[in-house]
Subunit: 76 residues, 2 copies
């Protein structure tokens, strides 16, 4: 099963979004990536179309930016 | 059961987001509001914290802005 990737940076907007998202997407379907703790994955996120966090990358490749916590530029 | 309200304006970003959201939220849990067709609901959406569409207003009152289709200001 291909998972949904949740990119975040531990910010308050990210934490709140995460709580809400978990109401709809079971945690076993989610891969969490904290770009603050794993800065080597920022380029990967950007190449997938993530412009800001929090964001979901769906199995079909679509990106859903959820509210606005931080720009991907600010995580580099 | 309190439903999730999906505010949109029929824009391409809205349509794409809708398709993705329906993968996670069953349609019977969603109330769709097309603010282009129901402009009298723009004030209601704004009072709930919707700043742009597409957006979800959750039963707990939290608002998830999904990507960016149009500002609520532009729908007035």
């Amino acid at each position: 099963m291909k998972k949904v990737i949740y990119y975040h940076a531990g910010c308050p907007v990210c934490m709140s979004a995460e709580e809400n998202i978990l109401q709809f997407i079971p945690s076993e379907q989610l891969t969490m990536v904290h770009l603050g703790n794993e800065p080597e994955k920022v380029a990967e996120a950007e190449s997938r179309g993530v412009a800001s966090v929090p964001a979901l990358v769906l199995p079909n490749g679509n990106v859903l930016h959820i509210n606005f916590g931080a720009s991907i530029e600010d995580l580099k």
